[in-house]
């Protein structure tokens, strides 16, 4: 399947998502999150051939980590803030992560 066709489909769903976000400003979802929900719904309903999307989604998601590297570099602007509060941030991150893991594990007991 053609990756370009798949990419076009992703952009179509992104555009639909942006439209929905504008029509429903009360729901706190961005255009791309709406697009994600709409794509999931279309695939579940069988309205869209999965192979069409896969041809673009697979290579696009392969590089997912790369796309937010520039945002991470922006941390430079917060160097002083982070330096000043480093112990609090480190402790909150560590404890918060362990608590989140245990809370999620507890939640999976729901039968």
């Amino acid at each position: 399947m053609n990756a370009l066709v798949g990419f076009a489909w992703l952009l179509v769903f992104y555009a639909l998502g942006e439209g929905l976000a504008r029509v429903l400003p009360g729901v706190p979802l961005s255009g791309s999150l709406w697009g994600m929900v709409l794509l999931y719904a279309a695939l579940s309903a069988g309205a869209l051939d999965e192979r069409r999307v896969e041809a673009a989604a697979r290579p696009l998601l392969r590089g997912l980590g790369l796309y937010f590297v520039p945002v991470g570099v922006g941390v430079l602007a917060f160097e002083n803030l982070l330096r000043a509060q480093a112990p609090a941030v480190a402790a909150a991150l560590l404890l918060g992560t362990l608590i989140t893991l245990l809370a999620a594990l507890g939640g999976t007991r729901w039968r």
Binding site: S30, G35, E50, G65, Y67, V69, V73, L93, G106
Partner: protein, 223 residues
């Protein structure tokens, strides 16, 4: 220049991780560190660097849409086990969103950091998109998210062993809910069911947090 440099540094970081796949050598973390050093020492200017790399960041939009495909594909592998998955997803997301900022507050961190830390378990892809709506600084949140992912991937399996979690669905759900993509890469080592649960949890946690964050921030006095 900045765009090419970012791609090349990231590819090099990926190669390092492939040779030595340890959570601490996470490619995104390594690439950010190297580029921060480069921008700072090279005197390139952060604003110029960010302007030139904007096209890369824009790709997050279709990539988040593509997560709907991931979710759909993994969902079929979770057939009949939706309840434990959803239970873990909601409990984990809510715990992260409320308890992390409260912990940070108790430790003396200011509101800007509390809000950024509240999103620590949301995949960076979604956070970049979500942050402006929530009054969160994405540049502050993303490095914290990467660190939370590294911590979860490094310590998660150990903690889950100690808690007596043997079920791959429970382990995958916990890793994906707490540590997004980095946790999911770790879950992949535990088998296909853990990977499916983790991948789906990563996409769904972004959605759940987007919906829950506005009321939670309001209740915590952070909005």
């Amino acid at each position: 220049m900045a765009l090419i440099a970012t791609v090349l540094v990231y590819l090099a970081a990926e190669r390092v991780y492939r040779v030595r796949p340890h959570p601490l050598l996470n490619p995104v973390g390594l690439a950010v560190l190297a580029l921060v050093a480069g921008v700072k020492l090279g005197g390139y200017g952060l604003e110029r660097y960010q302007n030139e790399t904007l096209p890369l960041v824009w790709l997050l939009k279709p990539a988040v849409v593509a997560l709907g495909w991931t979710a759909w594909r993994e969902r079929s592998r979770l057939a009949g086990r939706l309840r434990p998955f959803l239970g873990g997803l909601f409990a984990g997301s809510l715990a992260s969103l409320t308890l992390t900022p409260l912990l940070a507050r108790a430790l003396g961190a200011g509101p800007e950091l509390q809000k950024a830390l509240a999103l620590k378990s949301v995949t960076s892809a979604v956070t970049v998109d979500l942050a402006p709506r929530l009054g969160v600084n994405a540049e502050l949140a993303v490095p914290l998210i990467i660190l939370a992912g590294i911590l979860g991937a490094a310590l998660g399996p150990w903690l889950l062993d100690r808690a007596g979690a043997a079920d791959p669905l429970a382990r995958g759900t916990a890793l994906g809910t707490a540590s997004h993509g980095i946790g999911t890469a770790r879950a992949a080592e535990e088998g296909p069911l853990a990977l499916a649960a983790s991948g789906l949890a990563m996409a769904a946690a972004g959605l759940v947090t987007a919906l829950l964050a506005p009321p939670v921030f309001f209740l915590l006095g952070l909005s």
